[in-house]
Symmetry: C2
Subunit: 153 residues, 2 copies
DNA sequence: TGCCATTAAATTGTATGCAATTTATTATTC
DNA sequence: GAATAATAAATTGCATACAATTTAATGGCA
């Protein structure tokens, strides 16, 4: 590769991630909009549907987000009646997030989102598997440096 | 895969892209901060260093960004003395973006960013190539649906 | 030529992201 | 056991993203 080839936009891996992420969110929008959810709210609920009763800190470790992003987002979900935010009696520094009945019910409607997502695209599900694994392996490697998901240990 | 396995966070490809994108930006930050640039400003300049004298529309097609994001960002780069924004004489609807001498000079300092990026990580450059190509192929496929980079045809 | 559809930026409003700081609480140490 | 360090959320300030709308200019057509 020529020296300044490295500076071309098309060779930037991060730009590919960045663009793929945002283009995929555009695939999600028509599926999430009827549920009244944004993409970030959706992945937050995905995490809570797997396990709720977690602290903001724990949720942030799973989503790679800090309180600066989560606090307003969780307040929004609370205002929508999907979750509750309660100070932990055992440690008043922590806030525990739990799903309401309404928040649990929403899971049923969201269940079809993953399967509908690639409808209309030429993407083959099989192709995604390998790529997904490579990306996750990559993420672990750079996470060692950026400190991403540090609370996971 | 179990039915509700599809709803697990770890199986969401978009979440992998989304997280990789943001974690990589954290790798960039210490390299770009001394140059006074954010990541979005950096990729905008990468594009302009390849070709300037382009309209906001053309730049947006390359970066997958619209005027809502680009206009304030370009005004910022203009305020920093790196670019000029000029109405196209031939078509007053368009604004043409050009690098200033200062903006061109910054390219030299930014030249070491791509090579320094993976320093300290366990990432093997060879591993990145294949993954990168798969991602770009994937992006083209979903772009057919989302309309991404529509002005490219 | 005048009207209307189209187009490019800019603007507006909402929702993130994240660094840095602040506040409140808990853990530690001397 | 009081002073200090550490921790978890919340807050603040700045920079995106993007849908939707607005403004200004151009193109097409009767």
């Amino acid at each position: 590769m020529q020296p300044n080839e490295y500076m071309k936009l098309e060779h930037q891996l991060c730009f590919a991630f960045y663009t793929c992420s945002r283009e995929m969110m555009k695939l999600y929008r028509p599926l999430l909009s009827p549920l009244g959810l944004t993409y970030t709210q959706y992945i937050t609920l995905l995490s809570l549907w797997e396990q709720d009763g977690v602290t903001v800190k724990e949720l942030g470790a799973k989503l790679f987000l800090d309180s600066g992003t989560l606090t307003p987002l969780l307040k929004k979900l609370e205002a929508m009646g999907l979750i509750t935010r309660t100070r932990d009696k055992a440690d008043e520094r922590s806030v525990i997030i739990e799903l309401t009945a309404k928040g649990q019910d929403l899971r049923e409607q969201a269940a079809e989102v993953p399967t509908k997502l690639y409808a209309g695209t030429n993407v083959r599900i099989e192709d995604i598997q390998a790529m997904h694994e490579h990306i996750q392996s990559f993420l672990r490697k750079i996470g060692e440096v950026t400190g991403g998901r540090e609370a996971e240990r």
